[in-house]
């Protein structure tokens, strides 16, 4: 996987762009933060769906879990949680800036660690399923989590949960900047981690599982161990992304924001497929293109966005299953380090 030889220049360019972005586009800070979160979700989905061949609809479980956990810890560290949710949040209790940032830091740690543990615990049962059974089972898991959390009183049940409002520090812009840099940091961490994984034997094992799990097992690979570890890595970053998103949105609803399988749960699959499954850059490109497209649609065709989304899913899945990276690879195979045998290619053309 090489995208040209000037990789370091590319990375530094992206890094500088990422740091400068909130000053270049001050009006789009929230959108840019959401973009970072979407890229994290698509990239981590790709570990399952693209590299391992386990098409999961259930990563939304970890995202929503992280969201609820981060907000609950942030509130629960300083105030009684039940009273907070009952009074609708911010009216009775106010976080001081120190409390807010302390709570956020601890909350994000919990939001990352607990979903990882959950993934490890349920991984052995769920990852034993294959193919479409795994897909439907994880879909059920995500929806069940949404329905059940919508019935639990202490985290707001059906009426939702208001996350602590950003304290009065700095100027008006500081809230957007704080969340942008936080999500950008998580994005960088995710990218480094995923890139690191993809350059080791671990990725080859995941690919072996995708291509033929029985053979991989016969070759002496403990596939279950690797599958669980892969899922736990995804859960870690999904939880972090969820925690940030909860603070960014400012309001958590069980089925519409946190365990939103109909929206976020499908988005992550779609973004990875649009960019190209099983590539490092595919989900990143896919998420960017998708986010721009989505925001355009959300703005200009308000009300029809889900209709457009449904059509988009069908069109992408049917006509564009290889994604942008797959298309590029077919068009410029040399740039992906593939050698083409001219004779062989001609012979194939003649056969057609």
């Amino acid at each position: 996987m090489s995208i040209g030889k000037n990789n370091i220049i590319l990375y530094i360019g992206i890094l500088i762009f990422g740091i400068a972005a909130p000053f270049l586009f001050p009006a789009f800070k929230v959108q840019l933060s959401i973009l970072c979160v979407l890229i994290v979700l698509a990239t981590t989905w790709n570990i399952q769906g693209g590299e391992m061949g386990y098409n999961s609809f259930g990563n939304i479980l970890f995202y929503g879990l992280g969201m609820y956990l981060c907000a609950s810890v942030q509130v629960g560290m300083f105030f009684p949680l039940a009273e907070w949710t009952e009074s609708g949040g911010e009216k009775t209790f106010v976080h001081t800036p120190v409390q807010f940032f302390q709570g956020m830091a601890v909350g994000l740690v919990v939001a990352a660690v607990v979903p990882t543990i959950v993934a490890g615990l349920i991984g052995y049962s769920i990852l034993g399923l294959r193919g479409h059974y795994f897909a439907i089972c994880t879909l059920g898991l995500g929806v069940a989590a949404g329905e059940i959390s919508g019935g639990i009183e202490i985290i707001g049940a059906g009426q939702g949960f208001t996350t602590p409002p950003f304290p009065n520090v700095g100027n008006l812009e500081s809230r957007g900047e704080f969340f942008y840099y936080l999500s950008f940091l998580v994005l960088i961490l995710t990218f480094i981690a995923v890139r690191g994984i993809y350059s080791t034997r671990f990725k080859l094992i995941l690919n072996a599982i995708r291509d033929n799990e029985d053979k991989a097992e016969a070759m002496g690979i403990e596939t279950m161990k690797y599958k669980i570890v892969g899922w736990m890595i995804s859960a870690f970053f999904c939880g972090l992304a969820g925690g940030i998103m909860g603070g960014l949105v400012g309001y958590i609803d069980s089925t519409d924001v946190a365990f939103d399988g109909r929206e976020m749960g499908v988005f992550m699959v779609l973004m990875a497929i649009l960019g190209g499954k099983g590539t490092l850059w595919g989900p990143i490109i896919g998420a960017t293109v998708f986010h721009i497209f989505k925001e355009g649609f959300w703005t200009f065709f308000l009300g029809w966005q889900y209709v457009a989304l449904g059509v988009l899913i069908v069109v992408i899945v049917i006509y564009f299953p290889e994604g942008i990276m797959g298309w590029l690879r077919e068009k410029y195979p040399q740039r992906f380090g593939e050698v083409i045998d001219e004779k062989d290619r001609k012979a194939q053309v003649e056969l057609k």
């Binding site: 479409h132 059920g140 209709v307 988009l312």
Partner: protein, 297 residues
């Protein structure tokens, strides 16, 4: 948690009867899913949305002054053509592909339908009132709405008709042949493309019947589709493809489970418990098979 259902036996009887009548309806939807899964190897996530669309057809007949029970006849006819249209536009491009492609494509259709229905019919919970009254049993300790009995009766009727049609008619034989071996059927002169279209149409028509019955007995809402898909998926994996008595039995079992979950856990956990049950069933099957070093495929 509320265990009143065990302290008063009549409530248990009520829950069981309600569950069985409900389960027969679920079994009808699941039969459609088993049909298309067996023949075309497709899992249709939009199954529940087809049910809800069928329900809205009956509801609109009710709004225009026609008795909603006629929807049982009108709705499948309309839904058959809706099914054919979906097949021609989308499904015929995913039939031979990976199952996940079909899941995702039908997920797209499901979102599309959900939203279009939301625009067209509004986001209110509606029901078509049939004015059938109720039946009292056991010294009026158990109350059964006649509409539920009617809907169970109609479901059984349609299921029997379909089984006979599958056994006797030419198209039914072609469908069964295609399910066994599509390639061989093609060689022997069966137009499999037509068979696939008809199968999807029949499935949509079954959904239409079930939807019309649901609009009479329960309520319909544009977003209520997905639980029906999950229920029928669950029934099919418990019973297996092409096992009609099994489908009926597990449908009723699911209905009874849901009624008890409703009483014990409370209505807000009803849908959640259905989805959780799906996960538990799949995990149970997985552990059972893994003892023989096999897996669900």
């Amino acid at each position: 948690m509320d265990f009143m259902v065990f302290q008063y036996p009549m409530i248990s009887v009520q829950a069981c009867l309600d569950g069985i009548l409900l389960g027969i309806l679920f079994a009808l939807i699941a039969y459609g899913m088993a049909l298309q899964w067996g023949v075309m190897n497709i899992i249709n996530i939009a199954q529940g949305d087809l049910v809800i669309l069928g329900g809205y057809i009956a509801y609109f007949m009710y709004l225009y002054g026609i008795h909603p029970a006629w929807g049982v006849i009108v709705s499948p006819i309309i839904m058959y053509f809706v099914g054919i249209a979906i097949y021609k536009l989308v499904i015929n491009k995913v039939v031979d592909r990976d199952l996940f492609i079909s899941i995702l494509a039908t997920f797209g259709i499901s979102i599309l339908f959900m939203q279009l229905m939301n625009f067209a019919f509004g986001a209110d919970v509606v029901l078509a009132n049939s004015d059938y009254g109720t039946t009292m049993l056991f010294n009026s300790n158990v109350v059964l709405p006649n509409s539920k009995i009617f809907s169970a009766f109609i479901s059984i009727l349609f299921a029997i008709c379909l089984v006979i049609y599958m056994k006797k008619s030419r198209l039914g034989r072609a469908i069964r042949a295609t399910a066994q071996n599509a390639r061989a059927a093609k060689i022997l002169g069966v137009d499999t493309e037509k068979v696939y279209a008809a199968t999807f149409g029949i499935n949509a028509a079954l959904c239409g019947v079930a939807g019309a019955l649901i609009s009479i007995t329960f309520t319909i809402h544009p977003y209520m589709g997905l639980p029906y898909t999950i229920r029928s998926f669950m029934i099919v994996i418990v019973a297996g493809l092409g096992n009609l008595p099994g489908v009926a039995m597990s449908g009723m079992g699911l209905g009874v489970f849901e009624e008890f979950a409703d009483y014990i856990l409370g209505t807000e956990f009803r849908i959640g418990s259905v989805f959780l049950l799906l996960v538990l069933i799949l995990v149970y099957r997985r552990f059972k098979l893994s003892r023989k070093r096999e897996y669900l495929k």
